[in-house]
């Protein structure tokens, strides 16, 4: 199980990094999305993988780590998911505005001189 998730994180990171290094802004946006999936999964996985033990307590009870998944990484990732949407939106708008100003969708705002 752990191996599958770890490999998944690796593939997402690899694809994301590859796209991050590409010259077109859209590629970079897609790359950042993939990278944020990978990072969110990684943070989530630091709490350990548990099946069928969501951190939702019975009314009036106290929880422990044997019966429930670690809630802290989940809380961290939950806001990260929402924020990553916001940063994607911001980046998209910046790249659109930059393209309007410079006339190119190259990350440097101008095509490579050859």
């Amino acid at each position: 199980m752990e191996l599958i998730v770890a490999l998944g994180i690796g593939v997402l990171t690899g694809s994301g990094v590859w796209l991050l290094l590409r010259p077109r802004t859209f590629q970079v946006i897609i790359g950042l999305s993939l990278l944020s999936y990978a990072v969110n999964l990684f943070i989530f996985s630091t709490g350990g993988l548990k099946t069928g033990q969501p951190p939702i307590l019975p009314p009036g009870g106290e929880g422990n780590l044997l019966e429930y998944a670690d809630p802290l990484p989940q809380a961290l990732v939950l806001t990260a998911i929402v924020i990553s949407f916001a940063t994607t939106a911001l980046f998209l708008v910046v790249l659109l505005a930059a393209r309007g100003l410079t006339g190119t969708d190259h990350v440097d705002g101008r095509e490579r001189e050859r």
């Binding site: 199980m1 752990e2 191996l3 599958i4 998730v5 770890a6 490999l7 690796g10 593939v11 990171t13 690899g14 694809s15 990094v17 590859w18 796209l19 290094l21 590409r22 859209f26 897609i30 790359g31 999305s33 999936y37 969110n40 990684f42 996985s45 350990g48 993988l49 548990k50 069928g52 969501p54 939702i56 307590l57 019975p58 009314p59 106290e62 929880g63 780590l65 670690d70 809630p71 802290l72 989940q74 809380a75 990732v77 939950l78 806001t79 929402v82 990553s84 949407f85 940063t87 994607t88 939106a89 998209l92 708008v93 659109l96 505005a97 393209r99 309007g100 006339g103 969708d105 990350v107």
Partner: protein, 975 residues
């Protein structure tokens, strides 16, 4: 009045006055001057009020704890020495205010001048009263800063700007060294408290760090006091208005360096290193400054170099490691302040009334300005050390010290009195030149203004100072004696040496030296007449070694050439190399750490592989690689593939017990996809194989390198994740939250309780970020200019429009009239349903998966769906969404919920919960966290909708602009 109040008021009054003066209207010249005068005089009265205590050799202290663990506190401390300096600051300050009131011209923004001047007074007082080393360094830099502002007061002239910049660069660099030195000193003494440090002298002097600390502190003190080789900034600071030169650059600011050396004298002095460093700097400055001063044609330039020379004298006295020399140094600080300030003021009067400061053009002013002439004569005589004036007495003491000094090198002993005499002769020569060149000789010709006496009040401060020169010169023991005594006593402690303040000590060697110097100086001046009148500006021989030019060349090299070549070699403005190096660095750091520290397998056995999740991730990996493959030419495909990855991540969250995450991920996936789809329309068309594909193919090597990086990063993250997952996670926080979620937070959904209760402040910060990003997106799009090739209507719409136009039976836009009719009806019916789901998710969030974030995105999806299916115009006709209000309301609600805790005397964001019995529904938990969550909900709705709608509106706006243009054309044709 208590000690605390007195000390605090002394430091705070000028700053308060500065703040008030700063907001006065520009024309309020008189009000600003009166304010400054009142502040200076009342502070002077406060200083005087402290005299009874200080004269008993008591120390006034007050201390406020700041960061106790670091030994930092705000401590004010006034002993005799600090008292004397505070008196100097406010005494001369009051006189300068009076003088400046008449000096400043109509067109100058006078309130700003007085604001700076008062702030400087405050900084200087703060410096002399500081009882903590770090505090000294702080006020030190503050004096540099206000000196910068005052020199640059006439910032329309290049000389003022350059002079100000040079002064700040030199003194602030010195200040940084001083801070470093103070840190070392504090380390050696074990405390930053000045009292402790002063008591730790022997311990510090024998410490290994003594020399570095000494050098650093002296770098600060010598730059501030314009000592060789850092003296060059002071003459350029003369671009300041003359009151500033009189106050800062002769009487107070430049004395700060001397003050510091004297303050730390009990700790740092007494070693050979001190003698060599301080003594040499002082001696060279003394002689060099006096020599250069003779050849200055500018009155203020002459006075500036003379100031440098006299500061050198004081520094030399401090460097002699003798108690008597210390007394002489303090004495000369006061004497120099009185005669030099009055001379500067006189120079300012001459400049003011004649329009020039060039000694070669001035002459014979004694006939038109007799009073000013007499006053300047006396002050200049004091500067030259003529008997019966204060300068004479301190010079006698200096000669005495020069004769009896204990130098580590015997040759120094012979040279010291000789050089002292030479410098003294130089000072006689330049004093003569100042007076004779300006006030005597034939009547001046061709002056810019017709000279006349200044306003009586403008001369008043000069009169007071000159009177002081004479009083001290004639009756030293009766006038200055007691004050000098308490000041010296507080530095030297109980072992005060015997000294006699008297005009006549008998016919002794110092007197002979004085007489020789007077005669030699007069002879020198007479001999140099021709050279001074007709020769070039600046001294012979050393004119080429101008400090300013060296400084400027150094600045150009440092800030321009080095920076440029550094950027060329190390920097790039292109994004890809930057990202590449960041990634490479991360890989090297991570891999290096793993190699250096070694990584072993974890302690947990991995769980068995479930084929379903393996299959899911096979799809996920394929999607990710496919997206990476297709993102360049097939954006839509890449977008769909990324959506696939998102779903796989979502399934993973469900699988591994994170229902909240899965829910949020699913919802965010929807809005992200909509967002990127909206963006696609504005991106350039790019077809595989078209537009010079050969040019697009970058070198294989670069692609391979990037591939290597990507694979490396992927493998690294895989390994890291695997290693982390096979170890027992630290459970401290997790256990804490799991145990208290219900008992203290009143909710069973632990993740939600963490978000809205335990870590509510973090969440507040995050929704603020979300709101700020949404507003930024909105603001960026308001001025959005699409690229020219994206402006026209998309191809599909053009085809539709052409089709509609070609058929007479159809009106324009008829094709989309029936567009997705069934889904649109369904979607409209769904709107209330989705809204109810959102409210349900919000309300149950505390106990079951849901919460403000998920509910907010759900609600925004309900709205976005209407936009997608009905179009912006239709939707906005039916439903007025005001996203900005949602954002504002959400933030307010979340913030107020936090503030409400204060009303109950609890810390910010403390939550409260209880169970309420509601008829029909039953027992319902009522928690203040719910109000917070509603705030989160409202903000998320507003932010998401704002971003998406703002982007969606761009397509409509383009057409609106077209329509408006068409309408305008039609209207103009109709006319």
């Amino acid at each position: 009045m208590t000690e605390t109040a007195l000390l605090l008021m002394l430091v705070a009054l000028p700053f308060v006055g500065a703040a008030i003066a700063g907001v006065l209207p520009t024309q309020a010249r008189l009000a600003a001057a009166r304010l400054a005068g009142v502040v200076a005089l009342s502070s002077l009265a406060l200083v005087w009020a402290a005299y009874p205590t200080v004269s008993e050799n008591e120390v006034l202290r007050t201390e406020f704890e700041w960061i106790a663990t670091l030994g930092l506190s705000f401590k004010l401390r006034m002993d005799g020495f600090a008292w004397l300096f505070a008196g100097l600051v406010y005494g001369i300050g009051s006189l300068v205010v009076v003088y400046a009131r008449y000096y400043m011209a109509e067109e100058d923004p006078v309130p700003r001048f007085f604001a700076f001047l008062l702030a400087f007074m405050g900084a200087m007082t703060g410096l002399v009263l500081s009882g903590n080393l770090i505090q000294i360094a702080f006020f030190w830099e503050l004096t540099s800063l206000f000196s910068f502002l005052l020199i640059g007061y006439w910032h329309h002239t290049p000389a003022a700007r350059d002079g100000a910049r040079m002064a700040l660069t030199v003194t602030a660099t010195g200040g940084l060294c001083l801070l470093a030195g103070m840190l070392l000193l504090g380390q050696m003494a074990g405390s930053y408290d000045l009292d402790t440090v002063l008591a730790a002298g022997p311990q510090i002097r024998s410490h290994a760090l003594y020399l570095p600390a000494l050098v650093l502190i002296l770098l600060g003190a010598l730059t501030k006091s314009a000592q060789f080789p850092f003296h060059f900034w002071l003459p350029h600071a003369m671009a300041a208005p003359t009151p500033v030169s009189a106050y800062l650059h002769s009487a107070t600011l430049v004395k700060a360096g001397v003050f510091l050396m004297a303050r730390l004298w009990p700790v740092l002095a007494g070693t050979d290193a001190w003698f060599w460093l301080v003594g040499t700097a002082g001696l060279v400055t003394l002689v060099l400054g006096a020599y250069v001063a003779i050849f200055q044609n500018d009155l203020k330039g002459l006075l500036a170099y003379s100031t440098i020379s006299h500061l050198g004298l004081i520094t030399l006295l401090l460097g002699l490691n003798s108690d008597l020399a210390m007394v002489a140094a303090i004495f000369h600080v006061m004497n120099h302040a009185t005669f030099k300030a009055s001379l500067f003021m006189a120079a300012g009067i001459i400049d003011h009334e004649t329009g020039t400061r060039d000694i070669r053009r001035l002459s014979g002013l004694n006939r038109t300005m007799p009073f000013t002439g007499r006053l300047a004569l006396v002050a200049a005589a004091a500067m030259a050390g003529v008997p019966l004036l204060n300068g004479f007495i301190s010079k006698e003491m200096f000669f005495e010290e020069a004769l009896t000094a204990q130098a580590p090198l015997p040759a120094m002993l012979a040279a010291l009195p000789l050089l002292a005499m030479v410098a003294s002769a130089f000072s006689v020569a330049y004093s003569l030149r100042f007076i004779h060149g300006t006030f005597f000789g034939p009547d001046p010709v061709d002056l810019p203004r017709k000279p006349h006496e200044p306003a009586a009040w403008m001369r008043f401060p000069v009169e007071i100072l000159v009177l002081a020169c004479i009083m001290v010169g004639v009756l030293p023991a009766a006038t200055i004696g007691p004050y000098l005594d308490i000041a010296a006593r507080s530095v030297l402690g109980s072992e005060m040496p015997y000294y006699s303040l008297a005009v006549w000590h008998g016919f002794n060697l110092p007197l002979v030296m004085s007489l020789i110097a007077l005669a030699a100086g007069t002879g020198l001046y007479l001999g140099l007449q021709n050279r001074l009148r007709n020769g070039p500006d600046g001294p012979p021989v050393i004119r080429r070694f101008e400090g300013r030019r060296i400084f400027e060349r150094a600045m150009v090299t440092l800030s321009w050439r080095l920076a440029r070549s550094g950027e060329r070699v190390l920097g790039t403005r292109r994004l890809q190399p930057q990202l590449r190096s960041i990634l490479l660095l991360a890989l090297v750091a991570g891999g290096g750490a793993a190699l250096a520290r070694g990584v072993g397998p974890g302690n947990l056995a991995p769980q068995g592989v479930d084929p379903v999740i393996a299959l899911v991730w096979l799809v996920g990996a394929a999607c990710a690689v496919g997206a990476a493959w297709q993102a360049k030419y097939h954006r839509l495909a890449a977008l769909i593939l990324v959506g696939g990855v998102g779903l796989v991540v979502c399934v993973t969250f469900v699988w591994f017990s994170a229902p909240d995450l899965a829910l949020t991920q699913l919802l965010v996936e929807i809005v992200t996809t909509v967002l990127l789809l909206l963006g696609l329309r504005w991106l350039p068309k790019r077809f595989e194989g078209v537009r010079g594909e050969a040019a697009e193919v970058v070198s294989l090597a670069r692609r391979l390198r990037d591939l290597g990086l990507a694979v490396g990063a992927g493998l690294g993250m895989s390994g890291l994740a695997y290693l982390v997952m096979t170890r027992t996670p630290p459970d401290l926080l997790a256990r804490h939250f799991l145990e208290r979620a219900y008992t203290e937070g009143g909710g069973t959904n632990v993740v939600n309780v963490i978000l809205v209760d335990f870590r509510g402040f973090d969440t507040l910060g995050e929704i603020v970020v979300l709101g700020a990003v949404a507003l930024t997106v909105y603001a960026l799009l308001r001025r959005f200019r699409p690229a020219p090739d994206s402006v026209e209507v998309p191809e599909q719409q053009r085809v539709q429009a052409a089709f509609d136009a070609a058929h007479p039976a159809r009106h324009e836009g008829a094709t989309v009239d029936d567009w997705l009719l069934v889904p649109s009806v369904v979607t409209r019916l769904l709107f209330p349903l989705i809204a109810v789901v959102a409210v349900y998710l919000l309300l149950r969030g505390h106990n079951m998966p849901g919460g403000g974030f998920a509910a907010g995105i759900t609600a925004s999806i309900a709205i976005i769906l209407q936009y997608m299916i009905g179009g912006a115009q239709w939707t906005e006709n039916q439903l007025r969404v005001l996203p900005l209000r949602w954002i504002g309301t959400g933030l307010l609600l979340a913030g107020l919920t936090g503030l409400a805790a204060w009303a109950f005397g609890r810390p910010f964001l403390t939550s409260y919960y209880a169970y309420a019995d509601i008829p029909v529904i039953g027992r319902v938990p009522m928690s203040s966290a719910l109000a917070f969550d509603i705030g989160v909900f409202a903000l998320v709705v507003g932010a998401v909708v704002l971003m998406l709608i703002a982007l969606a509106h761009q397509s409509v706006r383009g057409q609106r602009v077209e329509d408006a243009r068409a309408a305008r054309t039609a209207a103009s044709e109709a006319l």
